[in-house]
Symmetry: C2
Subunit: 334 residues, 2 copies
């Protein structure tokens, strides 16, 4: 079914039907009513492909995430989506599962769909992709990677700073043997995170020991990585998880080893996802304001109302330590 069918049944031209549907140009009230009646009788829904093709412009944004299962990403998505809907945009999501190849095809898919802007909130970003997007004629916003330019904006969270705060806090509590639980350490941004931890440890005034382990993102991975960590011989009095989602698994593995948190082992997460308050015990973590990130991403992708053609910008997010009940002084400390 198409405009033609509606036009015929309403005894008008397709141009008129189009005007009615888009609320543009002058249309006599009675004509308008007649057309709308036919439209609803026929259950007509305009072909959006034809519409974007003819219209040229697009009110659609694309967003690509590494792992929608992790509430961190989902929160950002919801924030972008809600801004978008409010302003009459649609949003297309894609999930890469941390696979670089999947990221490539998602990006190309979004370009094929001629999105008006693209947010790339992933950890598997590779330099050549950044270049390709920079050269493309498309508004893009990256998360924690790349540098601003004509069409590129950036949102930076300064992950190392948050880790530094965490490690300092644990150190101040008296912890000297700390483990790190990460995931996908083969991917640059994620091995950077592990490195941030190591550097923070090395910066400690007195002698400290550490070990790291990694498995896939999520509670299961966190549990598995913790299992490895407990077998290293380090006997950590604290474990720093790369994010809250994995920390949930850390807590479980400790519990199953009859290690109390925080009496025997302290645990920290990162992100401050809402689930972190429902963990047992509630997690000490680093707050990353997902809603704000979503708003920034939307702003970055969207022309300012007042026509000011926003150049690529850089937005900085400041990670804040949130102390809850999963951390305490190590056993046997004063």
């Amino acid at each position: 079914m198409n405009l033609q069918d509606v036009a015929k049944k309403a005894h008008v031209s397709i141009a008129t039907v189009s005007r009615v549907l888009n609320n543009v140009g002058p249309v006599k009230k009675s004509t308008r009513a007649r057309v709308l009646k036919v439209v609803s009788e026929l259950h007509y829904h305009p072909n959006l492909h034809a519409r974007s093709l003819a219209g040229g412009k697009s009110r659609t944004l694309g967003v690509i995430f590494s792992n929608l299962e992790n509430p961190f990403f989902l929160d950002i998505f919801r924030s972008i989506e809600s801004d978008a809907h409010e302003r009459g945009y649609e949003v297309l999501v894609a999930n890469t599962d941390y696979r670089p190849q999947q990221l490539v095809s998602s990006i190309h898919l979004m370009m094929g769909r001629r999105v008006a802007g693209l947010a790339v909130i992933v950890s598997e970003m590779e330099p050549h992709l950044i270049n390709e997007l920079t050269e493309a004629n498309l508004r893009v916003v990256f998360y924690d990677v790349g540098t601003p330019s004509r069409n590129i904006s950036n949102i930076r969270v300064n992950y190392p700073r948050g880790v530094q705060k965490t490690v300092e806090y644990l150190y101040s509590l008296g912890h000297r043997r700390i483990g790190f639980v990460g995931h996908h350490t083969g991917l640059d941004p994620l091995s950077d995170r592990q490195r941030s931890f190591i550097e923070a440890m090395k910066r400690c005034p007195q002698h400290v020991e550490y070990a790291t382990a990694a498995d896939r993102d999520g509670p299961e991975g966190g549990q598995q990585a913790t299992r490895q960590l407990l077998q290293t011989g380090l006997r950590p009095t604290a474990i720093v998880a790369v994010n809250d989602f994995m920390a949930i698994g850390v807590l479980k593995e400790l519990r199953e080893n009859n290690l109390r948190v925080p009496a025997d082992v302290s645990v920290t997460g990162y992100d401050n996802i809402r689930l972190s308050e429902f963990a047992v015990p509630p997690l000490t973590t680093v707050n990353i304001p997902r809603a704000e990130i979503g708003h920034l991403a939307f702003r970055a992708l969207t022309p300012e109302e007042d026509g000011a053609q926003l150049e690529g910008r850089e937005f900085r997010i400041n990670p804040e330590l949130v102390i809850r009940e999963s951390t305490a002084s190590p056993p046997g400390s004063a």
Copy 2:
């Protein structure tokens, strides 16, 4: 940038470029190579709107969920998506937040995008929408609502059966005062769930008492609803949550009231999301196989390989009780 640009630069016609890009028809090897070279030099990506418009058919499926934040839905999504990608389909997601109006626009959006099939996995389904979709010329699969017909398939989980098993189990442990925690009881399918609970309670051989409370879906809502429940005066020895996601909040509220689970109060969930094993204590729940649901949905939306034009079918899912550590006999029982 379009086919024309590529064609010009490669000194061929747009028809040839199209052939190369789609791997159809005969093309001389050298021409093919030349075209591909230009395509990559120009970073050309075909306009998918034009493609679907010209091609007619679509390799895109739509999926609509009530709440992607609830891992139950996300698991189904991932399962559908993975099948889809494997078979060369794309999938478009939409999230309704349990808002009927949002569902309407999502459905229309999907129709406008001319998806090849639409999975509607929501709780806010209204009869007139079912009709509209039934009349539409579109493969649809519903979750736990509607009846099969020409183009409509259904996946049914028999929620009441699972609740019945749960209540029977709690009853057999000795529980006589049980609370129910739900959400969005204004929506038919969800008030049905609450009703299932009540009916299961009424079926108990001896006298039992119950109360219900509701808040929004999720841990926060679960916590809030539990707070209400604890104020009703029914001092429940067990709480049945409408799903695992809410049960996580139930556990938290009980903990904050110094009620031990399961020593003082037993708790059950529903769905068996992976997080339910990470709850403290791990949740007794009802297993709903999300992956299988995803596979079934994909099958229902997709023409069989062998051309057998699958009529609308009904798939039944059997809910199974999974007993873990959040349930026990009530305090003071033999």
